[in-house]
């Protein structure tokens, strides 16, 4: 067998839920340990580095706020990719992935909003303002909640997967709006200072804990996402087994 076809076979093997479960069992403990290690180092750096000369201690809120906000957008991008997988390739795990990601994304968006609010009060003097960045992230939060409600309302995944995939893709228009809102409109929220074309404009003293915490949050997302996907596969098996049991019970009577 050529190397190329072996690689393709390995990738398509992932489409088999049983293979995915075996892979998840092997990967999850390692991912969890590495995530915990990154959080230990990240939190230690977050509380030992110096405060900002203007913002003082509140700069430490950044180390949770910024990774949570990044993750809220990355999670939705993962869901949009999964939605493409459902609609274009009909990948059997794509809908599982999209469904499992929604509550995780909602939690990270909630965190970004709450920590942002707790940072806004001492720095801007307001818990909340309806500027473009804050409003678009709030819309993202509502979209996560809406998708979760839709997924719960339709209990047959075969029917709900296409509807929710279309909705996820339509909602993806919000992601570039969030990212560029601080450049397109006059906002109270500051523009990007890490992911910029001309390089980060943030001092290395703050950049180091921020990067470690960002990696920790990203690893946390993938750990939780794989575990939630595994739960979703189990949930679907339980449903189909119950249906099977009901059908065979009907035949026996």
């Amino acid at each position: 067998m050529s190397e190329n076809s072996l690689a393709i076979r390995k990738f398509s093997d992932l489409a088999n839920p049983t293979r995915f479960l075996a892979l998840a069992d092997r990967v999850l403990p390692w991912l969890a340990v590495v995530t915990a290690l990154f959080f230990v180092v990240g939190l230690w750096l977050s509380f030992t580095t110096e405060g900002d000369y203007q913002q003082g201690e509140t700069v430490r809120i950044m180390y949770v706020h910024v990774p949570a906000a990044w993750l809220s957008m990355m999670c939705y991008s993962v869901m949009a990719l999964a939605a493409l997988g459902t609609l274009v390739w009909r990948h059997p795990l794509a809908d599982v992935s999209s469904r499992a990601a929604a509550p995780i994304g909602a939690c990270f968006t909630f965190l970004a909003l709450v920590t942002g609010s707790l940072w806004g009060k001492p720095m801007w003097g307001a818990w909340w303002v309806w500027d473009a960045r804050l409003t678009s992230v709030f819309v993202l939060f509502l979209m996560y909640l809406g998708l979760m409600a839709l997924n719960r309302a339709m209990d047959d995944p075969a029917r709900s997967s296409r509807v929710s995939a279309v909705l996820v893709l339509v909602g993806f228009v919000n992601i570039p709006i969030i990212k560029f809102s601080v450049e397109w409109w006059n906002t109270l929220h500051q523009p990007a200072s890490v992911l910029r074309l001309d390089g980060p404009t943030i001092d290395p003293e703050f950049l180091r804990p921020l990067v470690v915490m960002a990696i920790a949050f990203t690893l946390l997302f993938f750990t939780l996402h794989i575990a939630a996907m595994r739960n979703e596969i189990w949930r679907r098996r339980v449903t189909s087994l119950r249906r099977l049991a009901a059908r065979s019970a009907g035949r026996e009577v």
Binding site: T18, E57, T58, R60, A227, A228
Partner: protein
Amino acid sequence: MMSHAAYVLASYGIATLTVVGLCLWVIADGRARQRELRELEASGVRRRSAEASNGETR
């Protein structure tokens, strides 16, 4: 007016609660589904693929 440290503590506190809550929910959900699968298997309901694997594989 709260001190700056209070805002920092509140942020980390809420972040910890949210993350721990999310982790516990995922773990509890997984355990509950596994329990259901075990109960179904104990009552004799098996997946078609599991039955097939007793005879010949795939």
